[in-house]
């Protein structure tokens, strides 16, 4: 191997590390702010004030919380399986982090544009279940184990409707590449998959399914039966504290951003502006910057919507949750898929 190719290899590795670091920092900052925003939103809805003491308007509250978690003693219960107990937070966190690889944040702002992006996302995000089961098992605690079992049944059940919903825009766009799907929705907002006339009613149904199943997949309140504070103490992460707990927490909030990003990319035009004149005619770096802003704005709206739903609905029972997945979402999803397939084969304008 000569010097030049070695240097190229080094450059490539440096680039990868840089991108990974940028994405990680973005994720950390986003999660810190999302936790704060969640507390503000829920407080406001419950006629409270929320955090307002740490820093101006309480903006440093989550930073202080994170610092507190860093300082905490790393407790491993004596009956726990040490190795698995330590491994589990990483098993949950790394998939949540890896999903960001394919997310198109803006025009030309994708870490790696894979041609099987949608499949990659659904595959990677289902690894997280293993982490949750491992965490529950290794804790040697009945609440953790119950939470993990619930989590396994819930997440595996909801993988199916999610994939059935993801396939619909893929079929309509004729591509699994997220960038291609976004470019297929170019123009004004009525060209977005959700509002596109020709895709009606399959795409809105898929959108709704993805939204409902996504709530279960990211484990937020109407479907948070694997944590269920009032039933299971804290579910699979009962025994975790300090940094390990912080990783679970981080993964959970990162996942809710990821869900928003996926829904935005597949159904709400990704980084495209809602009207072409609001940035669609730009080129180069300006286009990248403006499209990044649009992407973030849309994701943020969805994230706030998730918080809103979260502070409105009560938790469902386990059997209700399972009924919803197997008796409603999956039959509807299959029918929807059939309809979409027929539409794409016979009637879709080429």
């Amino acid at each position: 191997m000569d010097l030049q190719s070695l240097m190229q290899l080094g450059l490539e590795i440096g680039k990868i590390v840089l991108i990974a670091a940028v994405v990680l920092v973005f994720m950390l900052v986003a999660v810190l702010y999302m936790v704060l925003k969640l507390r503000w939103v829920i407080a406001r809805i419950q006629s409270r004030l929320g955090p307002n003491r740490t820093g101006p308007w309480g903006v440093l509250q989550t930073v202080a919380d994170a610092l507190k978690l860093f300082q905490k003693e790393d407790v491993i219960p004596c009956g726990a399986d040490r190795w698995l107990f330590t491994l589990a937070p990483a098993l949950v966190f790394i998939p949540a982090y890896m999903v960001y690889v394919v997310v198109p944040f803006g025009h030309g702002l994708t870490a790696r544009s894979l041609s099987v992006g949608v499949m990659y996302i659904s595959a990677i995000s289902s690894i997280g279940v293993i982490g949750i089961v491992v965490a529950g098992w290794a804790s040697n605690n009945k609440w953790s184990l119950l939470g993990a079992f619930r989590g396994a049944s819930q997440l595996i059940a909801y993988e199916v409707p999610i994939i059935l919903a993801l396939v619909v825009p893929v079929l309509v766009s004729q591509s699994m590449d997220l960038n291609a799907i976004v470019s297929g929705q170019v123009g004004n907002f009525w060209n977005w998959n959700l509002f596109h006339v020709t895709g009606w009613p399959m795409l809105p149904v898929a959108f709704l399914m993805l939204l409902v199943a996504g709530f279960a997949e990211i484990n937020v309140v109407p479907f948070d039966i694997m944590e269920a504070e009032s039933e299971l103490v804290a579910g699979f992460n009962t025994e975790y504290s300090g940094m390990k707990f912080a990783l679970f927490f981080l993964a959970e909030f990162a996942a809710s951003f990821t869900l928003s990003a996926i829904i935005v990319t597949l159904f709400l035009g990704g980084y495209q502006p809602p009207l072409h004149i609001l940035g669609g005619q730009l080129t180069g770096l300006a286009l990248s910057a403006v499209s990044l802003c649009w992407f973030m704005a849309k994701c943020w709206l969805l994230v706030v919507f998730i918080m809103w739903v979260r502070s409105t609905l009560p938790r469902v029972r386990v059997d209700q949750l399972m009924n919803l997945a197997w008796k409603v979402l999956i039959p509807v999803g299959l029918g929807n898929l059939l309809l979409t397939g027929a539409y794409v084969t016979f009637w879709m304008p080429k």
Binding site: R44, S47, R48, W308, K327, V328
Partner: protein
């Protein structure tokens, strides 16, 4: 067959009830309801008129001392026996307490002591910030009770009214 129809009904219901619930929280979120949280140290609570805080001995502005005559009715009435009153016997014409102590650590804020007080000199004040570091500090002496009681309000002249009419 019956079960199937309830599932369909539930689905139909959810399309109505979930937006309804979201609307309720949205209204709360946006404008309609003010925050009920008090920023306590900076923002003082508005206490009701009959608030029962620390039983205290307000100072009579005319004489500069409490109106207590040291009769000890409060000490006898107190269900917890936390009030200690000793009459000052130096001047038989001037009845005043030599010792007046309340051990607030066992007080249950029933207010019976203020009800039996013949001169109405013992009142439930509005002091509620009584945290301290030792048990000894929870025993309030005459001086403390006078300091915390403030002054008597100007007297409503009830006795003169019947004469006028």
């Amino acid at each position: 067959m019956k079960k199937k129809s309830t599932i369909l009904k539930d689905i139909a219901n959810s399309f109505v009830s979930i937006p309804k619930g979201l609307w309720v929280t949205l209204v709360n979120w946006s404008i309609a309801r003010p925050c009920v949280t008090e920023l306590y140290p900076e923002q003082r609570p508005e206490l009701p008129e009959n608030y029962r805080g620390l039983p205290a001995l307000p100072v009579d502005p005319k004489t500069g001392r409490s109106r207590c005559i040291g009769c000890g009715a409060c000490a006898r009435m107190c269900p917890e026996h936390i009030i200690t009153v000793e009459l000052d016997k130096t001047d038989p014409k001037d009845r005043k307490p030599a010792v007046f102590e309340i051990d607030i650590s066992r007080c249950m804020w029933c207010g019976l002591c203020t009800e039996v007080c013949p001169t109405n000199c013992l009142v439930m004040s509005k002091n509620f910030e009584l945290a301290c570091r030792t048990r000894e500090q929870m025993i309030y002496t005459l001086q403390d009770l006078m300091r915390l009681g403030g002054e008597f309000p100007p007297e409503p002249e009830t006795e003169e009214e019947p004469k006028e009419t």
